[in-house]
């Protein structure tokens, strides 16, 4: 008994001490800002499994901040926090951004599970958050304070199923990353939509793999025997690039379809000539600037990163910042609840992916662009509007 109490005391004291130190330091750090800045939290996975995506998105947000540094005469200060691709950390970091750094609005994150871990926190603290590429419908559903700049999984899966059917595919196979919510979500809605169009049993094979796997030859050899017209294989770009490479090496000729995570330079770097001719849905069209803002974004990006081309993730993060920026401007105050209301009312906002309007769940309604890889570059193929899907 004595031991217990003493242990508890020791814990409490050291907790207080450490927390105290942390607090003191922070104040000293940020004290210089004064009343002339508005703080925007950047909440991204910069280390861990999702570090690759987080880094690309950080570029977008930083670039957006560079082009739009001030709102209503106040400088916007980004507070970047790493959620380590880990949910417990994500929850801590979100609470920290709100309570310690006193940010007015949060932009991020890549990875739906991380966003969900922060969901209750932003809702309880009444600080709005705008997701960059957290596509799981659960993120915004039933949460008035979480919004997003990207598509949701059901939409993308349905878009790709319709596109595949339109192009004459009648037999599809699915290879899903079973431990990735994004991949499972897209696959599920692809299957539903495709079977509705092409009849039951038209999805001839569903194979699974785990995040971090490098060898997919067994699953692909099975798949080859089924001879599908098209393979739907959404997932992380690292795994997907290797998967497609191995599929081509095994002699699978069917086109591969996927989701917007593929739109990164690394996907092409790793996949090489094997990823030529794949299709995926994206919100961002690099060749034809959808808006003047998109043009500005692309030019600035090329200048900032020595001729590299921006990808969809970076554009989405840029858009998320723009939504926050616009809301700050419209609300004209630093009251988080008013900022939230302004975000919810976002309508026909000029973003890099066209005009963005948020629906009642806080998800954007926008066109999907179908893209492919041609000569080592992402190339525009087609556009699918939300109305196209309803018509069928």
């Amino acid at each position: 008994m004595k031991k217990f109490v003493s242990a508890m005391l020791a814990m409490a004291v050291s907790a207080a001490l450490i927390a105290g130190c942390g607090g003191g330091d922070k104040k000293a750090d940020k004290g210089s800002g004064g009343g002339n800045t508005v703080k925007v939290g950047v909440f991204l996975p910069l280390t861990g499994d999702n570090a690759a995506g987080g880094e690309l998105e950080l570029r977008g947000i930083k670039l957006a901040n560079k082009l739009h540094p001030e709102v209503n005469g106040k400088k916007i200060e980004l507070v970047v926090a790493d959620n380590k691709s880990d949910k417990a950390e994500a929850a801590n970091v979100a609470a920290r951004l709100i309570e310690k750094d006193k940010v007015k609005v949060i932009v991020g994150t890549y990875g739906s599970s991380l966003a969900m871990a922060a969901g209750n926190i932003v809702r309880d603290a009444k600080v709005p958050a705008i997701g960059t590429s957290c596509t799981n419908p659960q993120v915004t559903k039933g949460n008035d304070y979480y919004f997003r700049a990207c598509f949701i999984d059901p939409f993308q899966g349905t878009v790709m199923a319709n596109y595949a059917y339109k192009k004459g595919a009648r037999k599809a196979a699915i290879v899903q990353e079973v431990s990735n919510d994004y991949s499972v979500g897209l696959s599920k809605f692809f299957k539903e939509a495709f079977e509705k169009l092409a009849g039951a049993g038209s999805v001839v094979e569903t194979a699974n793999y785990q995040t971090g796997d490098k060898d997919f030859t067994a699953q692909l050899t099975n798949l080859k025997a089924k001879n599908p017209d098209v393979v739907f294989a959404p997932g992380n770009f690292t795994e997907s690039a290797l998967l497609i490479k191995q599929a081509r090496q095994l002699g699978i000729k069917a086109p591969f379809l996927g989701g917007d995570t593929w739109e990164t330079q690394e996907f092409i770097n790793v996949g090489g000539k094997e990823v030529e001719g794949i299709c995926f849905s994206s919100a961002f069209d690099r060749e034809k600037a959808a808006t003047p803002e998109a043009k500005k974004f692309m030019e600035a990006y090329v200048k900032e990163y020595n001729g590299q081309q921006p990808g969809g993730l970076t554009a989405m993060a840029y858009d998320a910042y723009l939504i926050a920026y616009n809301a700050l401007k419209v609300a004209g105050t630093e009251d988080s609840v008013k900022i939230r209301d302004a975000i919810a009312k976002t309508k026909d906002l000029e973003t890099t992916t066209g005009m963005t309007t948020l629906n009642k769940d806080g998800d954007p309604i926008k066109n999907a662009v179908i893209k492919t890889v041609k000569d080592g570059k992402f190339t525009y193929l087609d556009t699918v509007t939300p109305d196209d899907l309803k018509a069928k």
Partner: protein, 306 residues
């Protein structure tokens, strides 16, 4: 029954393809497993960081070819040397100070070393995957009667066998090898007999890491996306392969590697519905082996001394 259906649907070419896939994966596992088994054989400790040494070697080779434009064959030699050095450094800093400490401390230190390498790679090279350069010829595909085989797949078993033979020669027929075996049998007595234990252990680590580098190069050519966490799963599986074969036994490691590689592929081939459980296969094999034959398939039975 699903399995009968799977067999009925499988064509000869399909089955041959599965076998080829399994053998090439298995020989990669075998190559890395040898490194584990060597270190364990001498020091009786799991070098948890072995998988991460593989990862670092991939990065060495990557930077050698893309950043410094060294021809690939020279880069590979350089990578092997650099990785062997890395292995020795890890041994000196993380394991040597704990040589007389309880086994659990060494295990913890090994876990720490592995964790450090991952975080360091993530910090230095960023989490974005990098493309391991294509090597002329080795990366190309060769079709043989409907079965697609990557040229490297012919080389991996050959390299594995060469490494195996070389290693067996070093261990069984050289003075250093004799010293290694002496240290592994009884390390106190070996010291008394005038063997420089520190040197022997360093050489063991250098050899084990050089093997890891060879494995890493093969791995990089076969699966050309490199990330800081690439060593984690292969590391674990190859350790399991070493245990399955009988840890400390070099031939056993090769056998274990093939069992795991083939098993993983064939389980997906015959039970497609279980493809999501593929990664669990290695662990299930491990537990079965530990339960029925804890010393592994080729391991010697030793009785615990009091």
């Amino acid at each position: 029954m699903e399995i009968f259906q799977a067999i009925a649907n499988m064509t000869a070419a399909g089955f041959a393809q599965h076998l080829v896939n399994g053998i090439s994966l298995g020989s990669l596992y075998a190559l890395i497993a040898i490194g584990y088994t060597m270190v364990y054989g001498i020091l009786l400790m799991i070098n948890f960081a072995h998988g991460d040494i593989v990862m670092m070697a991939c990065y060495f080779a990557f930077f050698g070819i893309t950043a410094f434009h060294i021809p690939w064959y020279l880069t590979f030699v350089g990578t092997i040397i650099a990785t062997a050095l890395l292995g020795v450094i890890i041994e000196r800093t993380a394991y040597r100070p704990l040589r007389d400490a309880p086994k659990n401390s060494v295990l913890i230190s090994a876990i720490g070393a592995s964790f450090l390498l991952e975080n360091l790679a993530n910090y230095l090279f960023s989490g974005r995957p990098m493309h391991f350069p294509d090597i002329p010829f080795l990366s190309s595909m060769i079709p043989i009667g409907g079965v697609q085989i990557q040229a490297i797949c012919f080389f991996i078993p050959v390299v594995t066998v060469i490494c195996l033979v070389l290693l067996l020669h070093i261990v069984n027929h050289t003075k250093t090898g004799m010293a290694m075996r002496a240290v592994s049998k009884d390390y106190e007595i070996a010291r008394v007999m005038g063997i420089n234990i520190d040197n022997v252990i360093s050489i063991t680590f250098a050899l084990g890491s050089a093997l890891a580098a060879v494995g890493a190069i093969m791995w990089g050519i076969r699966y050309p996306g490199i990330t800081p966490y690439l060593g984690v799963m292969p590391g674990l599986k190859c350790f399991i392969a070493a245990v399955v074969g009988g840890i400390g036994n070099i031939k056993g490691a090769v056998l274990g590697g093939f069992i795991l590689g083939l098993g993983e592929i064939l389980i997906v081939a015959f039970f497609p519905a279980f493809s999501g459980y593929r990664d669990a296969f290695a662990f299930i094999v491990l537990i079965l082996i530990l339960f029925y034959k804890p010393t592994g398939l080729l391991g010697e039975t030793t009785t615990e001394k009091v």
